[in-house]
């Protein structure tokens, strides 16, 4: 076998397809992934909304009443409805995936994922109930 004179790390004219900008539309799992990532935008929107709310509360009852009026406008209601769906989507996907990062072992065997996921949902319910009680109870 004749030795190759100069080694080329990649074969000449090996064909490379460039990944399309719309790769995430090519399959449902990819789209679901991008929607999951996009939910972070609505998380950020919630923070903006809350900061606005705190600022209006500080400025006094009139300012806060104006803020509430703004919240009732159809555009805001629609935006917050969509945000709510995305934030719930974030929560559900988060609780389902978080156990993967922790290889909890019990009695020598890998704990079933449900054992770590279920307490997350319980905590979610508990925190939500506590917060609702605090806000509504005063």
């Amino acid at each position: 076998m004749k030795p190759v004179a100069g080694y080329v790390p990649y074969p000449p004219r090996a064909f490379r397809t460039r990944v399309s900008t719309y790769w995430w539309l090519t399959s449902w799992p990819y789209l679901r992934f991008i929607l999951r990532e996009f939910s972070s935008v609505f998380v950020a929107w919630f923070v903006v909304l809350t900061l606005w709310q705190i600022a209006s509360l500080i400025r006094g009852p009139a300012a806060y009443a104006g803020f509430l009026e703004w919240l009732r406008s159809p555009f805001l209601v629609a935006l917050n409805a969509v945000s709510f769906l995305f934030v719930v989507f974030h929560a559900v996907t988060w609780f389902n995936l978080a156990p993967k990062a922790m290889a909890i072992r019990m009695g020598g065997k890998r704990a079933p994922a449900l054992l770590i996921t279920a307490p997350n949902y319980v905590a979610w319910l508990a925190v939500s109930a506590a917060l609702a009680w605090i806000v509504l109870g005063e």
């Binding site: 090996a14 064909f15 490379r16 993967k100 990062a101 290889a103 072992r105």
Partner: protein
């Protein structure tokens, strides 16, 4: 069931083609045949110039990975009858450069795999007189799943990040690094972390999870990578609080 099925196979001759194209072959639709059998039928009886990699034909060597109808599959495990009435599109593995027909250049993966140092690293070797390194079944169980990897690269074809980021290490390389990190006989996790804990190592992973879905050996590379991220984060905190105790 019909007795023939159409196979649309990518053909690419680097010396004369500008880009790959599809060529259709009619193959017998035998109930026990897999796509690999159909490809070998084409090569034996129809068109001897068709080139593709294969070896064990039983799902353990990892050579025959290709895109079947747009999904990364081992062609020795994809039954023709599952795709009837067809046609079945057989293309080279995504995210790799095509050398010819269905053969891809996996040099990049091999380079990234060796960066992950997939071998036992010891700071000090035990003297021979002390015997073997002993390991309990529980210790084996911590990493056994990740050791099942056959380097078939289906996970790389499924990973969108690998497709777009030339520096990302990829699922199998990181899963194998984790396999050795978790091995009780290994003392090299610090060395591997130095190399992998970079934005072009493990941090490019955004947990899409497709790698785990397509893995034919249930290695769960996505899980391995998330575990590795947690380990790297813990080590980072430790190095912040105890800067003298380098692992």
């Amino acid at each position: 069931m019909a007795d023939q099925i159409a196979l649309e196979v990518t053909r690419y001759h680097p010396e004369r083609d500008r880009e790959p194209g599809l060529q259709t072959y009619e193959v017998p639709l035998r109930p026990e045949w897999v796509v690999l059998d159909a490809l070998n039928y084409v090569k034996d009886k129809v068109d001897g110039s068709l080139s593709f990699r294969w070896s064990c034909r039983m799902g353990i060597c990892g050579s025959c990975g290709m895109m079947v109808n747009g999904e990364p599959k081992l062609t020795c495990a994809a039954f023709l009858s599952d795709y009837a009435p067809g046609p079945i599109r057989v293309e080279p593995l995504k995210h790799f450069a095509v050398i010819r027909d269905l053969i891809v250049d996996i040099t990049d993966f091999l380079h990234k795999l060796s960066k992950a140092k997939p071998w036992l690293i010891r700071k000090e070797e035990k003297p021979l007189a002390e015997g073997e390194y002993l390991q309990t079944p529980e210790q084996l169980d911590t990493f056994k799943q990740f050791s099942m990897c056959i380097n078939c690269l289906l996970c790389y074809a499924a990973c969108p990040v690998y497709g777009m980021d030339p520096l990302f290490s990829g699922p199998a390389a990181i899963a194998l690094a984790q396999r050795y990190n978790m091995d009780s006989r290994d003392q090299g996790s610090g060395e591997r972390l130095d190399i992998l804990s970079h934005s072009d190592g493990i941090w490019g992973c955004t947990f899409v999870g497709e790698c785990t879905k397509v893995c034919p050996k249930n290695v769960d590379p996505a899980g391995a990578i998330q575990q590795y991220k947690l380990t790297a984060a813990k080590e980072w905190v430790k190095s912040l609080l105890l800067p003298w105790g380098a692992k």
